[in-house]
Symmetry: C2
Subunit: 208 residues, 2 copies
DNA sequence: TGTACATCAGTGAACGCGCGTTCACTGATGTAC
DNA sequence: TGTACATCAGTGAACGCGCGTTCACTGATGTAC
């Protein structure tokens, strides 16, 4: 029994980050105390400061972890979409459907977006963290904008399109859907917002 | 000079709420100290506790004030839209245009939405405040949903429409646009998101 | 194979500061009779 | 018209608690020779 809980190095650090993310999404960064994190993880305060030199470094590590996970999810989903349909538009539409389904099938409500949480408390953080956060939004913009412009080559839209705004609307729908879903305690709001975004993309490139 | 600054009663309370809103949108509720508010307003701490029995009552008053202002803005804008075009669809489209223009013409970036800020720190607040916040979203839903269903009577959509989600998308676009605009420090993002929402509404009821 | 040293992943105690809250009190204005 | 009292909009000092941070120290594991 004693050796049952084998400890991998870096394990504690990851546990701190996971617990911190849940707490920050529920109460905000300032109200998330180091005290409660170490209580949940089972170390002492000094143990925390071994992993992070101060609370600001915790914030930075949380942001980096969030961006990494976020990128991976998006890559996986939209790669699958393209595997399922060999056309830039329809592969994208399948991807958006999968994206919506992923949120619809979560066992419990999505806890929220760390970028949004940090955004509404950004005066607490240094420029480095704010830059990371901005970069994560720009990554969404780039990903979706490139896809939209690729689609436009095959399906030229009849009316002029604000590609940048239409690309941003992917992230915007997620942020908006998360907030409304949380405020109304309704898990279906977010996936339905994404499906509406999908409708708009389809209408934009409609050939009829 | 001494009587120049004439004090109206309730003036101090309103000043506290205005200063608090700006601070909360920048740093979050927990990091907004009573100390900084009274320094900005020019009273003592006891003066603050004369107006609010504790910090929770400040939060509640902020929420109530926010909802009131919010309702007034929406009423004005969409009433003007209907004055300018005597048709449920086109009056609404004009209203959305005015709404986007309002955000585009702000002298500086919109500071953000208190509902969203509170949402991402909701464990700090009691049920009463969370209920107020949920009610404010439901008011948006009701307002837009009723309008969309009115439009549908004159312009029956060719495909089935998720009216609830399409109504929610108004608030969702604003929340999403505010977050992206803030993260990228780009004031144009929010109005452009609203114009895309307008495109979707038009496409939904398109008669061609 | 044994020894010396370095690194890893923490412990335990103490710190000072800022925060929200309380309490007794006050001067100016409003109201009843 | 004057007096008594109540209410409004605060003041000033003190409080205790929780928080982030620091510092000296430690036992287990890894590495060099």
């Amino acid at each position: 029994m004693l050796e049952a809980a084998e400890k991998k190095p870096r394990d504690t650090r990851e546990k701190i980050l996971a617990v911190a993310e849940a707490a920050v999404l529920a109460k905000g960064f300032a109200s998330t105390s180091i005290e409660e994190l170490i209580a949940a993880v089972g170390i002492t305060k000094s143990g925390f400061f071994y992993h992070f030199k101060d609370k600001g470094e915790l914030a930075k590590a949380m942001m980096l972890r969030y961006i990494e996970q976020d990128t991976k999810v998006l890559n996986d989903i939209f790669q699958r979409g393209d595997e399922l349909h060999d056309d830039p538009l329809h592969g994208f539409l399948v991807g958006l459907k999968l994206f919506a389904e992923m949120f619809a099938n979560l066992p419990e409500a999505h806890p929220g977006c760390l970028a949004a949480s940090f955004c509404y408390q950004d005066q607490l953080f240094n420029g480095e963290i704010r830059d990371l956060n901005a970069a994560s939004v720009l990554a969404w913009r780039k990903r979706f904008r490139e896809r939209l412009e690729l689609i436009a080559k095959t399906y030229p839209p009849k009316q002029p399109v604000d590609f940048e705004a239409l690309a941003d609307m992917a992230a915007s729908s997620v942020e908006g859907g998360l907030i409304l879903g949380r405020l109304l305690k309704d898990q279906t709001i977010l996936p339905r917002q994404i499906l509406l975004y999908r409708d708009l993309v389809r209408a934009t490139f409609a050939s009829d």
